[in-house]
């Protein structure tokens, strides 16, 4: 297992650091060829002219590779387009979500930002093809016309929830991704070709994201201040799982909203109703505890406020399709 910590905003530097983490030589080119000890494939960085950093991956690694990106001061966003072939033995993990299905193709786009920590686990011997586009808040404002910080926050906060930030890659996306590998050989023009394909990928993602946000909001607009208050509600909600969560009435006082408005606006921002969200986060917490191998099922159940272990096991199975015992065993 290789753990690779990232706080890079420059993909060429990342490439060089990744090379040393994998203990393979790097000559300072735009690409890194994996040697048999590390895996098979290539990782490539594109130099564009538009403040965009782009990395292409077409590889499989010999060891499990965990990349962890931590929060930092300077705010930036990364758009990931991942096409992964998952086999029986391998599980692909993004943040706290594990893609459980076996023998399947996992092809999704998602947006992450360094507002939150995030980790990605690429299991050994899994073939992964991705395109990663890193851009600054400034880029987002300039090109997508999201002018105030609060507005950016409001629109993309919703991304924190799973239902939202994951977009299936259809034929159109895959075609665009593929085209980045097959650049026209006409030297002076390949840059414009690449840049256009990259911006088309982004356009498609953001257009569809916007459609989804509209669908969810149903023409229901929140002020930035209201969003800030919802963030407080969310923080309090997932702060402590050992006792029962605050009631809706308490939350509605905290957020200075009627309970109807609170419920509706929480769902529009976080994609789930308050208690469904609570329950999901609670199970995620349980999973973390179990995976740390420090607690057994009964202790975990107690830690997240279940008096009855079998209720916990049932709830856990409902969310993850595996029992807590299996998580410990693996």
């Amino acid at each position: 297992m290789i753990v690779f910590n990232i706080n890079h905003t420059n993909y060429k530097v990342l490439l060089s650091d990744l090379a040393s983490a994998l203990r393979i030589p790097y000559k300072g080119d735009d690409y890194l060829l994996l040697t048999p000890t590390a895996g098979i494939g290539i990782i490539k960085v594109l130099s564009l002219f538009d403040e965009l950093q782009v990395m292409l991956v077409d590889a499989s690694f010999c060891e499990k590779l965990i990349t962890a990106r931590s929060q930092s001061e300077e705010r930036y966003f990364i758009l990931h387009f991942d096409d992964v072939h998952i086999t029986d033995t391998a599980k692909f993990k993004v943040d706290n979500e594990v893609l459980q299905k076996s023998n399947t193709r996992h092809a999704v786009a998602r947006l992450t930002s360094n507002i939150f920590d995030n980790t990605e686990e690429v299991p050994a011997h899994v073939h992964i093809k991705s395109v990663k586009i890193l851009f600054t808040e400034h880029w987002l404002q300039k090109h997508l016309g999201l002018s105030s910080k609060a507005e950016v926050l409001q629109k993309y906060l919703a991304l924190k929830t799973e239902s939202f930030d994951i977009e299936k890659l259809d034929a159109e996306y895959l075609k665009l991704m593929e085209s980045l590998w097959h650049v026209h050989k006409m030297e002076p023009l390949h840059n414009i070709f690449l840049q256009n394909r990259v911006t088309m990928l982004m356009e498609r993602f953001f257009t569809r994201l916007h459609d989804k946000i509209n669908l969810l909001n149903g023409g229901f607009k929140l002020t930035n201040d209201e969003v800030e208050r919802l963030i407080k509600v969310e923080q309090l909600l997932v702060n402590d799982f050992s006792g029962p969560p605050p009631t809706i009435d308490e939350f509605s006082r905290l957020a200075s909203m009627s309970s109807t408005k609170l419920k509706k606006s929480f769902k529009s921002v976080y994609g789930n109703s308050i208690y469904a969200y609570y329950q999901k986060e609670r199970m995620q917490k349980a999973r973390q505890l179990l995976m740390s191998s420090k607690y057994n099922v009964k202790e975990t159940a107690a830690a997240i406020g279940y008096h009855n272990s079998s209720n916990f096991i049932e709830a856990f199975k409902k969310q993850f399709n595996v029992s807590p015992g299996e998580v410990i065993a693996s």
Binding site: H143, E172, M186, E203, F206, T207, H210
Partner: protein, 326 residues
């Protein structure tokens, strides 16, 4: 006769001069033509990456002559024009003259600030155009072309109308269609517009590059024949809901043998005539589905498919996805 002459400047300045000349106010760089001149609009949009795009969609009520004087400087305009229903159209670029009397002109060309440019057409003309303004500096920094001046000056020094005026093929058409149907309310309007504009530039440059590097082999057909191909093309895609005109009919129209027509069409538009027709039809289908105003069945019927499953199959063949996945 509307006669306007100006010095080379960027699109925003041009639009201001034009508005002052006509005597109408500008509202956020949009000019609505008053009835005595025509109907429709001319607007300029400044894109995030520094390009200026002038878009017009109008019908002229007067004969028009717009003349740009020659000047120094290293500014360029890439023009994409689609003009229909005119009695005549003349484009003069320096010494170079293109005259069109086919009722339809659709072409792309690049001009620099150096040669003068004159554009004349008649009342009744329906004009849609996308003009992209950029400086040499923009070109070098945004496209990273170290040998740009080469490419551009080479192009501009080639004084043959056949070479300089490129026909608008299906890719250009589609991009223009997307630009004209783009709603200003689109959440990332400028970004979408910018991407289409960049794709227009890309297509133009790639085609230019290809022609320059394989020149000699390519430019064999005479100017006149290209004009006739434009006419054939416009007849071919005029109505996508009925069967396309028969090849013998197109051959008569272009005064060529069927064999020659097919070969030349393929050379100019990169597809055989029916293939081209079908591609246009499918692009139209995709566009209609994307508007979300029509069901799959309605789109199929609009495009002349009697059998819906034929439509689905054709669509899948073209785009690799089903109409229902759009």
């Amino acid at each position: 006769m509307f006669n306007f002459s100006y010095k080379y400047c960027d699109h925003v300045a041009y639009l201001h001069q034009l508005a002052a000349f006509i005597g109408v106010p500008l509202n956020e760089n949009v000019l609505h033509l008053p009835p005595e001149f025509g109907s429709g609009y001319i607007k300029v949009i400044e894109l995030p990456n520094g390009l200026q795009v002038l878009i017009n969609d109008c019908v002229l009520h007067q004969d028009v002559c717009i003349r740009r004087e020659e000047s120094d400087g290293t500014e360029y305009t890439l023009r994409f024009d689609e003009v229909r229903n005119m009695k005549a159209l003349t484009l003069k670029m320096g010494e170079l003259i293109l005259e069109e009397d086919n009722q339809v002109y659709s072409g792309a060309f690049l001009t620099s600030s150096f040669p003068s440019l004159e554009y004349t057409t008649t009342a009744g003309a329906e004009s849609r155009c996308v003009n992209i303004y950029f400086t040499e500096e923009w070109f070098n920094t945004h496209l990273g072309l170290s040998r740009t001046d080469d490419l551009l000056t080479k192009y501009l020094s080639l004084n043959t109308a056949t070479f300089n005026f490129e026909v608008l093929n299906i890719e250009y058409r589609q991009l223009m269609e997307e630009i004209f149907s783009l709603k200003e309310g689109h959440p990332i309007y400028k970004n979408v517009l910018q991407n289409r504009v960049m794709l227009l530039i890309e297509n133009f440059l790639i085609s230019l590059y290809n022609r320059l590097t394989v020149s000699g082999k390519e430019i064999t057909h005479v100017e006149n024949e290209i004009k006739r191909m434009m006419q054939v093309e416009s007849v071919l895609v005029r109505n996508l809901s009925v069967a396309p005109p028969a090849i013998p009919h197109l051959a008569r129209l272009s005064m060529m043998s069927e064999t020659k027509l097919k070969a030349l069409f393929k050379k100019v538009y990169h597809y055989a005539p029916y293939e081209y027709y079908q591609k246009n039809r499918m692009l139209k289908a995709k566009y209609l589905l994307n508007t979300k105003h029509y069901t799959i069945k309605e789109v199929g019927v609009q495009l002349g498919f009697k059998n819906l499953s034929n439509f689905t199959v054709a669509f899948k063949k073209e785009f690799g996805i089903l109409p229902s996945d759009v």
